[in-house]
Amino acid sequence: MIAQPATTPGGFLLVLAVLLPAAGTLFSFALGSRAAEKIALGLTPVGFFLACLVAMKVAAAGAPIAYAIGGLPPPLGIALRADGVSAVMMVTASIIVAAAAFYARAKFATPDGVEESRGALTFWIMIQAIWAALNLIFVGGDLFNLYVALELLTFAAVPLVCIDGRPETLAAALRYLLFALFGSVSYLLGVALLYGLYGTLDISLLAQRVGAAPMVWTAAALMTAGLLAKTALFPLHLWLPPAHANAPAAASAVLSGLVVKGSFFLALRLWFYVLPALPTAAPGAVLGALGALAVIFGSVLALRQARLKLLVAYSTVAQIGYLFFVFPLAAGAHVWSPLGWSGGVMQILAHAFAKAAMFLAAGLVAEALGHDRIAGFRGAARALPLTFLTLGLGGLSLMGLPPTGGFEAKWLMLRAAAASGQWIWSLPILGGGLLAGGYVYRILAPALADGEAAIQARPERSREAIALGLAVIALALAFAPQGFFDFLEIGRPFASGSAP
């Protein structure tokens, strides 16, 4: 690994990307919900611009950009570092947050005649806090700092789940909070052990120092299990379906599309950036096996749901499973590792966009029909063509049919599985696709069939367009050029330079 300078040109952008939404949170809190909405909406283009700038800087340098906070390099200080994947994730987060924010204006506007409303203040602040936390997770270089970011993320996500105050959402939020806390202490314990072993928590310094000792494995196991709890990998998914299915649509989109990816991203950082030099085949296989179980269980359960939002939430359980094939498929410095890596990142992106789009669309369906029972969808596609087009396109990506990002991800993963001789992973990948076909069929077949759906309120065109826009991005990912995959390799230890 090449030693990086503590601060590179353009590194200050990383600090700004984190602090901008953080400052937005503070000012929103002081100024009230009406201002909070304006601040949050106003920040979205700026944040998107910053994320793009970061991506451009990384691409121009061909190497990660970094910033040592306070001018103090690690191990004493905290470093922020953005590589190819960080930059892509930042751009993704900014797009989805922006989409959810503009979509949510209809629901979370502060009513006239009221100085401030509970739901509005909570939503607009929490969404900015989620954004700040995610940006920090994507660029954080210090494991303890990342712990704080992870907690920030949890504290922002939990109130969004129970924002409507119904008892079942409160129970879902409480379950989410307690299980996430369980995950946090597990992660923190691992962090303590790593510091005790090596006297630093900086990712790149640790990567130079770690060896295959039992203590390192204990730390890694504890941290990973904690992160899995927050990612809701099967069988730790107890909190996800009720939480994601009962939150307001805009919140579900962010929770399902981005928040679970935050903790997953840290798992990637741990295994591919801190421990890349160690033999990780066996633990990688354990993670892959859990992923396979998640794919099968999540998909079968999605097939059996009567409500659209629960179906989409269980589909998230399944799609999270796919992410974990990256551990067996991208480990080490083999010829196929870049394929597995690209496939894993592509799955993150494709699922983020497709699932966010589907949750937004599901919210529109529920608003328009007054319910989201699939049995009552007959003829709904004729009444809400754009919304069901969104569901269809998103579903296409979940099924892994071309031309979608979901297809691209499966295609890359299957190639990696074939090339590495680990054909066993191709079974859940393909089986999950078939089951996804089943549940997407369950949504679309009645909706496209003849019949008259009773529409209570026609959704605004602009909100339909926002959801569709996200689905189109999920589609466009299929056309990612080779340069995009090369970009994802920037800064990855062991990147062999030859991407797929």
């Binding site: 004493l76 909070l177 005790g196």
Partner: protein, 112 residues
């Protein structure tokens, strides 16, 4: 047995006790207490690491100690948020169970 090893063992014991409570207690407030036990066990491990890092005339390594202070604050915030949710749930339905199936409540309530 030196004090830091002793504290480390206490930390491990606290983690074990807390984990058991976290798994086995049905009441969320009891789970919260157990979570705080695990948390303080983890902080003790940090403390042991800090104590072992005594060097250069200092009795401890300040970095892990600072982390513990941050961790305590975060743990308190978490407890407070959980308490608020538990109380609200108790007021709203009287049912604070975390397992809807166990108490006969469905958790897939209709959409808004």
């Amino acid at each position: 047995m030196n004090p830091s090893l002793l504290a480390g063992l206490v930390g491990a014991a606290l983690v074990g006790l807390g984990l058991y409570g976290l798994i086995a207690h049905p009441h969320p407030l009891r789970k919260l207490l157990a979570f705080n036990l695990v948390g303080s066990g983890v902080f003790l491990v940090f403390g042991v690491v800090a104590r072992r890092g005594a060097a250069a005339g200092y009795a401890f390594d300040p970095v892990p100690q600072a982390m513990v202070i941050t961790g305590i604050v975060v743990a308190f915030a978490a407890s407070a948020l959980a308490v608020a949710l538990i109380l609200r749930l108790a007021v709203a339905g009287g049912d604070v169970s975390l397992d809807p199936q166990a108490s006969g409540r469905r958790d897939d309530g209709e959409a808004e």
